[in-house]
Amino acid sequence: MIPSRLAAIAVGLAVIAPSVVAAQSMSFSVYTAPSAANGSVTVESTVLDYSTGCSHWNYATTAKIYSPSNRSATSTSNGLSAYTSLSFDSEFGTYTTATTGTYNCSCIFGSAAGFGGGQQIQVPRPTNIELTGSGSLGGTPNGCSGPPRYFKYRDYQVKDQNNAAISRSMGITETFSNASPNCFGVALVEGGGATNGQGQFRDYLWLCDAPGCNGGGSCTLTRTQTFSADGQSLSPSFAQTYTCSNVTVQE
């Protein structure tokens, strides 16, 4: 089924082949539906053949994507649909997508004919990050044998260089620098994932079962946290300070 935003656009045209007396209507709708998510541009190409009066067969449809520097992906399928994808590979800007295809037609004595169309899609470069909420959570985080010493979250929105929110799913990673020694005696665990379709994600922070804090022990671990979205480092970085009783995060 064609999505509503791609509502059918059918145009008919009377075509008279030299040896055919009756009029034929040759009508194709070509839908090129690009999207950008999870590090790639994908395109779904769908063609509807509304033609009447002629027999068509041997359809082949090709979906194509071109990056701003003309890297490309192409896929051809028999039939009236095709799909392909092209990873961003750190390249942002305007991507061009296209649908082309061929078929054979009885009204032109079985000769080949074609169809085509295309569309552009903007892929903004992730540049900035904005804190949109924070708080504490109940429950037991994964890997803990009991209640944690603390279990917090921070919600973020990924933005472009113009500080506009980016509305697509983006892969998120975090890196740490300037880390002090791990005096807690625990495993340092990181989760990597993706934003939702609005470019938002939740960062969890917790500490549990820390031998370095038992028996009145104390420990402080500091480090600088930097997020990346789709491989692009985001500003600002954050100074994390973990103690036995709390974690604080500052720009």
Binding site: I9, L13, S27, G118, N142, G185, L188
Partner: protein, 224 residues
């Protein structure tokens, strides 16, 4: 809307589209290792990867494999691995596919073969086995709990129950057992990269890749 006018053998056809026309040209893009790894996770193929950090985590992750039966998978997997920019060996070990970078540091591979003994059955979860049992095997000392940060979604089923039976295991065997008991996960061990492998030889990162490409990683330093 744009209409394309095509003339073929004297017949004129008008095509309606929802978009403007485009006619560029170019070639295909090579697949990334991450795409292969996530494809294995998406297909529920038990597997483990040893490679440089950039190779494991960079690229997209939307692919799959049409079969997870070893004989059907073998030629497809080997063909995709052979097409990667990273030279990898491919081996099926006890039902788990091992993909290892041919330039992986020898000291790291030796650590993965280091033996550890579980003196009693361990009933835990994917998370607890990774964070504690595997970490202890690598560090060769007890490790406490967890300092966690990052994104953890339900796509990564870290709460799946795992039973590790008493016995002798290498680090690789422990990781293999996790992915055999928790389908849809692929283990990885990564190192900073060939250029920095020597200077950072007492540090490594291991973890799992989940369907869709989410991952959980544990970083250990001061390895013996």
């Amino acid at each position: 809307m744009r209409r394309l006018l095509l003339a073929t053998s004297g017949v004129v056809v008008i095509i309606s589209t929802n978009q403007a026309a485009a006619q560029p040209a170019g070639g295909a893009q090579p697949e990334s290792l991450k795409s292969v790894v996530v494809g294995l996770a998406n297909a529920g193929v038990p597997a483990g990867i040893v490679a440089a950090e950039d190779a494991v985590h960079r690229g997209d992750g939307t692919s799959g494999f049409s079969s997870k039966e070893p004989e059907a998978l073998r030629p497809v997997l080997r063909a995709r691995v052979a097409a990667l920019a990273v030279p990898l060996s491919t081996e099926l070990v006890g039902g788990v596919w091992h993909l290892k970078a041919e330039d992986a540091p020898a000291a790291l591979l030796a650590r993965l073969n280091r033996s550890t003994r579980l003196t009693a059955d361990v009933d835990g979860t994917v998370a607890s086995v990774l964070y504690r049992v595997v970490s202890q095997a690598l560090l060769q000392r007890d490790i406490g709990g967890v300092l966690g940060t990052g994104l953890f979604s339900n796509a990564c089923r870290l709460d799946q129950p795992i039973r590790m039976k008493v016995g002798e295991y290498s680090v690789e065997a422990l990781l293999d057992e996790v992915v055999k008991q928790a389908p849809g996960l692929v283990w990885f061990v990564s190192y900073p990269g060939p250029a920095r492998a020597t200077e950072a030889s007492n540090r490594l990162t291991f973890g799992i890749v989940c369907p869709g490409g989410e991952n959980v990683k544990v970083t250990l330093s001061d390895l013996p």
